[in-house]
């Protein structure tokens, strides 16, 4: 199903635009649930046995599962349709954003959100030059206008099929709820979100810790302008700043929580290592670094790893697989954290399963089943993966 955004920047769609968006959400449901199941059946029935006959063993890695499936009819139809559906996500919102550009710009100005841009910032290639998620113009589309933010917000509403909540904040809400319940004595007073895009997963931290100062950074200006207005319209006091996560303009020991969601996999290996080291540097003793991400390949079967890595080959996510081949805890240790202070977990979507499910997960200390089939898959029954480390 498609979702109707519930904030002041939500689109005023024509009937045809609403129908197009609804169709894209619907066809994505078919692809990600039904055709994905068909592809797994084809893998078990044809591709993996054929690989085993040729190599004397089943596919052992994501890359081998990919090679085994290339050319299989189920893989071909799943992949060709998923690529086209992704292009249709962005196409389905382009008309409404263009038509409403004036209204959105004026509304953003009137909202007087807190956005601090840095025109001197050299925006990295992975933010502006690669069309991430096949998104035309990527994150820098429209410069410092609200265009990129509006396209992303509206596109994500179509893309997510209702699985990310009415304001696309399910990841932040689920993670913040988990941390608040799991660590009731943790009371951050200053929070930094790195790679915020439009702040959709930043706001839950302000809601969870209302007395904290919350700052959200990103390298792309348009999303920040849009996100600041979006936050202000929801009554959330969050400051948006144009800055790169791998070169923070903040002093040592100046934050209690450094957070990101679905961000690290969009960085190169070098940028990612620098971003984690910067997180360590700006954390105060007792502070927490926390990242929601895709689960690592080491935690899952070759097929499940391939299923998530598909984006790296076909959805303009060039660093996605390299990231997923890494071990989060090893990266945290390289950044300066002690191995004993690192952790990883899986949390149920609060929108799908409710707060009681998260509370039950905390009470049973069972949020460790990282390899379960629904982890990281944007399909029915999604579970979110996270990892983090405490700075002692």
């Amino acid at each position: 199903m498609s979702v109707e955004l519930q904030h002041g920047m939500k689109p005023d769609l024509t009937a045809d635009e609403a129908a197009r968006g609804r169709f894209v959400s619907g066809i994505r449901g078919l692809i990600l649930n039904d055709l994905a199941a068909d592809m797994k059946a084809a893998y078990d029935r044809r591709a993996a046995p054929a690989w085993e006959r040729a190599h004397g063993r089943p596919p052992a890695t994501s890359a081998e599962a990919h090679k085994a499936l290339r050319g299989d009819p189920a893989f071909n139809i799943y992949s060709a349709m998923r690529v086209q559906a992704q292009k249709m996500v962005w196409a389905s919102v382009a008309d409404s954003v263009e038509r409403e550009a004036g209204r959105l710009g004026a509304a953003a100005q009137a909202a007087a959100g807190k956005a601090v841009l840095n025109p001197e910032l050299d925006v990295p290639k992975n933010v502006g030059a690669i069309e991430v998620h096949l998104m035309p113009g990527s994150y820098t589309r429209g410069g410092d206008s609200v265009e990129a933010g509006a396209v992303y917000d509206r596109g994500l509403a179509v893309f997510s099929m209702g699985l990310m909540g009415a304001n696309l904040d399910d990841i932040g809400l689920s993670m913040a709820r988990y941390i608040a319940l799991r660590y009731p004595d943790f009371a951050p007073t200053r929070i930094l979100d790195t790679g915020t895009t439009i702040g959709h997963n930043t706001l839950p931290w302000k809601q969870t810790y209302p007395d904290a100062e919350v700052i959200a950074i990103d390298a792309a200006p348009g999303g920040l302008v849009y996100g600041a207005a979006r936050a202000a319209m929801q009554g959330q006091d969050v400051q948006f700043v144009q800055m790169c996560a791998d070169k923070l303009d903040y002093p040592d020991a100046s934050f209690d929580l450094v957070w990101s969601s679905m961000f690290l996999h969009e960085l190169s290996k070098k940028q990612r290592a620098a971003a984690l080291a910067e997180a360590y540097r700006v954390l105060r003793p007792g502070g927490l670094m926390l990242h929601m991400e895709l689960p690592p390949n080491a935690e899952m079967s070759a097929f499940d790893g391939f299923y998530l890595d598909w984006d790296s080959w076909y959805n303009e996510e060039p660093y996605y697989k390299g990231y997923r081949d890494e071990i989060p805890q090893e990266n945290c240790v390289k950044a300066g954290f002690a191995a004993a202070d690192c952790f990883q977990f899986v949390v149920p979507s609060v929108g799908i399963y409710g707060e009681d499910a998260i509370a039950a997960m905390v009470a049973s200390d069972a949020a460790e089943a990282v390899g379960q089939a629904t982890t990281g898959r944007l399909a029915e029954g999604v579970m979110w993966f996270g990892f983090g480390a405490w700075k002692k």
Binding site: R20, K67, R70, A85, G322
Partner: protein
């Protein structure tokens, strides 16, 4: 798109000269899939227009999401269980 970096272990032959992903032996099939999906989308737009007209003339309201699921299931039944 052709300047996009790729994972280190990317097999050869995944993309055309412009960097677009290829899946079928005949590249025209990749484009044909896109055409079929676009056509289905525009058919659905017309379906919603018809529903709106019928409802304006007194027909009972139709659950769009449920109708769409049936529409997609019927339309794409031939590609299931490939």
């Amino acid at each position: 798109m052709s300047d996009t970096p790729r994972p280190d272990d990317t097999p050869p032959g995944l993309y055309d000269d412009a960097g677009n992903a290829r899946f079928f032996a005949d590249p025209a099939m990749d484009r044909f899939v896109a055409v079929v999906m676009n056509m289905a989308q525009e058919m659905w737009v017309q379906e919603e227009r018809l529903l709106a007209l019928e409802e304006a003339r007194g027909a009972a309201p139709v659950d769009r999401e449920a109708r769409l699921k049936d529409f997609i299931t019927r339309m794409f039944a031939p590609i299931r269980n490939a």
